[in-house]
Symmetry: C2
Subunit: 432 residues, 2 copies
């Protein structure tokens, strides 16, 4: 090694541009930290003709991945193309050529993480992916290094900026989901096809990654129970606010004894909880350790420079490892057996909103149905139903109850004539 | 190395007890992470007869430091005695014997950090001190690793739990400083001699450590401008609240171009800023990176188990480094030249509270004095002065102004007869 580290960059979109920009402006700091000069010596692009907001010599731009993978001088590949294929194939091939990998690809890591890490380990290569979760927050580092001596029991967070922006706007501006989504798309905070964000898939991928690291197990995307925010109404948000809650798309990974639950769903968070005040495109992850108690990490969840920063902090680690000759040895690997909770093992408080007949005895009947499932109530709010004076809105907040019992009671509610409709049901978090 | 790492523990107070407890209960997790069993094989105590809340074999307890320092089998020394001497001498001697050091000693690191790190590096030993700042928050790791590819421009935080507890109580319960301090002492949140916490020295030590790491310079305790909370009155807090501020003891380390300022002082934080909502004994550190923008780290600042966790996460790193054979190479060392700001380079908003004559023209005169120092006003609040109807309380909040100009204008205020008294002056943070 002659003091220069050559890097191949796969993907030249927003994050790729940020990487090139940062490598350039932080050359001196890199050198001070690693003793090496870093050079992006090859960039894989789809369209070499496209205008970029950052200047690079056209000689280094290519559409042929082999020019990176088989370049003997390239020691590290930074993959910021996104998507599963061809990224997965390129990375596997690059590892076989002894390249270290830094990736921001949450889709890939959530689904093929184990395979890729195993391969990297076999070839003595590093594979790091800090940028795949909560761009600007060094949350993977915090979980892997900072909590190395503790047992993490719960990870709870806002890990998708788009949905947090939408829910914040709905709440602050009393606007509907569709209105705010359109606005977010115009501002570039939401994609033209917003499904992955809005339906919770993006958050679920991140929670799969965080729970794998936090609990030392191999979690797959299918292990995460997912529900998006597209059906959240402004009315739900308002009733929640009356009761002291803020609506957030919350990812939860929880371990009780040996049993794990991981979910992403619209959740009412108590206003006194730090997560309730995380607004706009910001992300925040709350990590609960058996010894340390409650901690929270807050920062920008995405964006060109925050994500590029996370990529480059991994790159610094790779380069230090190259100097130390310890690549491929410091990656987190699962050593615990994965046991998932069943619905009867998952306990939470729930917010249930019903339209009921406004007659005497109805509340008593409903309470009886709930008692049959051993669900008790923490709060009840009854309000007139605007469009029909014979009906009423009834909001129930339960004490801790199993998800199975909640589902049972929701099914029972569908079958009684004094309940016109189950409007919504959300998990409640952030209190005792 | 036979798969067992023997550790010598210096100090067996609260944190030491926590370390013994954690080492015991996390044996299995340690093994899974490091491939080694960790054993506390020697404990240095002052009084071997003292009752402890955790059981250890009396054979391993000693009052002679040489039994740890010269024990060939001990590879790592954990120092949780606190204070400068004899901790400094013991650590230097232990390093000479090739021991790796993990310390929670902020006093020592703030004053002799450079000397100790240099010594450790010379002997190929690790020296880590995550537990010295904000116990349960892996903030040193976040700054060193997470921000390795960014340029930190500002670190701002609540790094002392005792004072945050006192200020929170004063504000929430409308109580005086003396009342709350007494209560905190009874609850064990404040020491019998509270000077180090209350006068900001503890926070200053932590800011010296964080700013050294964040800006890659050797900051000393004397470089930190310090002011405690003992003169903060309930009236100040209430007037601040009327203007939308919360009083916090804030540590600030800021770098503009190449110039650095580090201070600890009672500060009004805008209520919309995340730090305003950090209450009780919790700590929070907000780190601003040029690329990443704003991030915040929140958690318990002290306590037996949170601090012990930080000690043990450092121990995990040491043990991994032993396995990798890379000790003594991964510690942060200053590579930038330290240039401190003068008073005329330090810019902030300020809250100034005056008792003035309640006569026409007074505000105009005051504004004129301020204009002479090029200070302009963002907010003005005038309230009747309770005990004298001829006087008025006047609160001024300035736009950004240099500390020098603020000091000049405060001096000028002392010399005019229409101002009876300058009651207080605080820095204001958390807005643009």
């Amino acid at each position: 090694m002659n003091g220069k580290i050559k890097v191949g960059l796969m993907g030249f979109g927003t994050v790729g541009t940020g990487v090139v920009r940062l490598v350039d402006s932080y050359k001196e700091d890199f050198f001070n930290q690693t003793g090496s000069v870093i050079e992006v010596s090859r960039i894989l692009v789809r369209n070499p003709e496209k205008e970029r907001s950052v200047f690079v010599n056209s000689d280094i731009v290519t559409t042929d991945p082999r020019e990176l993978i088989y370049d003997q001088e390239v020691e590290v590949i930074i993959e910021v193309m996104g998507g599963i294929e061809p990224a997965r194939t390129y990375i596997l091939e690059a590892i076989e050529q002894g390249k270290h990998i830094v990736t921001a690809n949450k889709d890939l890591m959530a689904i093929h993480g184990e395979e890729l890490i195993k391969k990297a380990r076999e070839h003595g290569c590093d594979l790091f992916y800090e940028a795949s979760v909560a761009g600007g927050i060094p949350i993977i580092n915090a979980i892997v290094e900072g909590f190395s001596s503790d047992r993490i029991t719960k990870i709870m967070g806002i890990v998708n900026g788009t949905t947090n922006y939408i829910l914040t706007k709905m709440s602050h501006e009393q606007a509907s989901f569709d209105e705010v989504l359109q606005e977010a798309q115009q501002l570039g905070y939401a994609e033209a096809d917003p499904t992955s964000d809005v339906e919770g898939l993006d958050a679920a991928r991140k929670m799969a990654i965080l729970s794998s690291l936090g609990f030392h197990v191999g979690m797959n995307l299918e292990d995460v129970s997912v529900r998006g925010i597209s059906k959240v109404t402004l009315e739900d948000i308002k009733y929640g606010e009356q009761l002291g809650y803020t609506m957030k798309l919350i990812g939860i990974a929880k371990k009780d004894d040996e049993l794990i639950e991981v979910s992403v769903e619209p959740t009412f968070v108590k206003n006194t909880h730090p997560l309730a005040n995380v607004n706009g495109v910001f992300n925040a992850v709350y990590v609960y350790g058996e010894a340390v108690g409650e901690t929270m990490f807050y920062g920008p969840g995405a964006g060109e420079l925050p994500t590029a920063t996370a990529v480059l902090s991994d790159l610094v680690t790779v380069v230090k490892n190259i100097k130390l000759g310890v690549n491929g040895r410091n990656m987190a690997t699962p050593y615990n057996v994965k046991k998932l909770k069943r619905e009867e093992d998952i306990y939470a408080k729930y917010f249930i909103r019903l339209i009921v007949n406004d007659e005497s005895g109805v509340l008593a009947q409903i309470a009886k149905l709930m008692a049959a499932e051993e669900i008790s109530l923490e709060k009840v709010l009854q309000e007139p139903y605007p469009s029909n004076p014979k009906k009423a809105e009834l909001i129930l907040v339960t004490h801790q109850a199993s998800k199975k019992c909640i589902n049972n009671v929701l099914a029972a509610f569908e079958n009684v004539d004094y309940i016109e409709k189950v409007k919504s049901c959300y998990r409640v978090e952030g209190g005792e």
